[in-house]
Assembly symmetry: C2
Homo-oligomer: 228 residues x 2
């Protein structure tokens, strides 16, 4: 049984509904790999030979042009990446690096395309995941084009607050310099943006964010279900 090694992902939405046979075919030739922190595992422009799934740890997708670099997103356990390039059999548009020691499952892209064609439940799950990622990217772009950097930060702080169980104080999940890049600004500018949010009810101490006045912060951030 090849699949026993991959039981941990069997319950993920992407794989939960497919037949046992399909899952076997899918995981044939798949393998698990451990990466140390800060390791570039995928470089943009390379062929997408494997669908990747974060089993544990943390992966950043980023992209470069000339001498500039930008963080696109950060992925945690149970996230998939390289799905679109896998399905279209094209090169990756983004690079990927580990931020922590990470365990990654790699499934041959060919298997994914084969099973997509033969297992309707898997096809549905793939399209669902793809549409979800697409919509997340549209939201991201709206965020970038419609808001200033301070507004983006304010909304990020609110979103994290909800993700971390509505605690008044919480820890930033990533380094500030990566957050800055994700939000489309420089680290210096992020520092100043945090200061600018003080009168709007946010206090920062190291990695700890404390929302001192939710009403003020929400009034300033104006979160929107169609962006955030």
């Amino acid at each position: 049984m090849t699949s026993t090694r991959f039981e941990s992902i069997r319950e993920l939405p992407l794989f939960a509904e497919m037949t046992e046979e399909s899952f076997d075919i899918l995981t044939r030739g798949a393998y698990v790999q451990n990466f140390p922190p800060n390791m570039v595992m995928i470089t943009e422009g390379e062929a997408a030979d494997f669908l990747h799934i974060v089993q544990s740890g943390c992966v950043e997708l980023f992209s470069s042009w000339t001498n500039r670099e930008t963080s696109v997103t950060t992925l945690y356990a149970n996230s998939t990446f390289i799905l679109a390039a896998t399905m279209k059999d094209r090169v990756n548009l983004m690079s990927a690096r580990t931020l922590q020691k990470s365990r990654i499952i790699m499934i041959p892209s060919e298997n994914v395309r084969d099973v997509f064609a033969s297992d309707p439940a898997f096809a549905l799950a793939i399209v669902d995941e793809l549409a979800r990622c697409y919509r997340a990217t549209i939201r991201n772009m709206k965020n970038l084009k419609l808001r200033t950097s301070i507004e983006r930060l304010a909304n990020y702080i609110l979103k994290q607050h909800h993700r971390q169980g509505d605690a008044v104080a919480y820890q930033l999940p990533i380094e500030k310099r990566r957050l800055a890049s994700y939000l489309g600004m420089t680290p210096e500018n992020l520092s100043r943006a945090f200061n600018n949010l003080k009168p709007h009810g946010v206090v920062v101490d190291g990695q700890t964010i404390t929302i001192t006045d939710m009403t003020k912060l929400t009034a300033f951030a104006k979160p929107d279900v169609l962006i955030d």
Copy 2:
């Protein structure tokens, strides 16, 4: 035969490979509608009841937040839109307006989801289209985050040049104020950006763009297959 009204889209990649029966089911309850120019046909936040296809004319997808608005993309004949929201049965994240008199085919979202589940060829076409749009959006975001507005304009000029058959001079396909919004800048700034490109081999006269020095322009724009 319901489908005769929709023969014009039968040959599109999205519908070409599906069975005749599936196409019949898909177009049941579908209809064609004519819109005048500058008509908002879809408002973000509304349910995505129909998959839309531009049969003729021109449609702009755009988005708003507070009192700001941004152009996301412009679609011409044979383009589909609202595909991701249709597949996930969610609200639209973008609004759509006609830029010219346009003829739009509308297919009930329910039909799309039903046929997706029953016709593997259609499923494959859907996932292909979705992945294509997703990747286009990633490119768009990289363009926005990694380049200045002048660099974005330079690359836009190069891309249009190729699209319009490598002619030395060509007409801008959209109004400058919409181009400005698409590129993430103000109309005033676009005007100045055109002026800034003069020493890099671009002359503008109204809607006409003339590339006077391709070498210089390319050297400045540094187009990249992973963005453009």
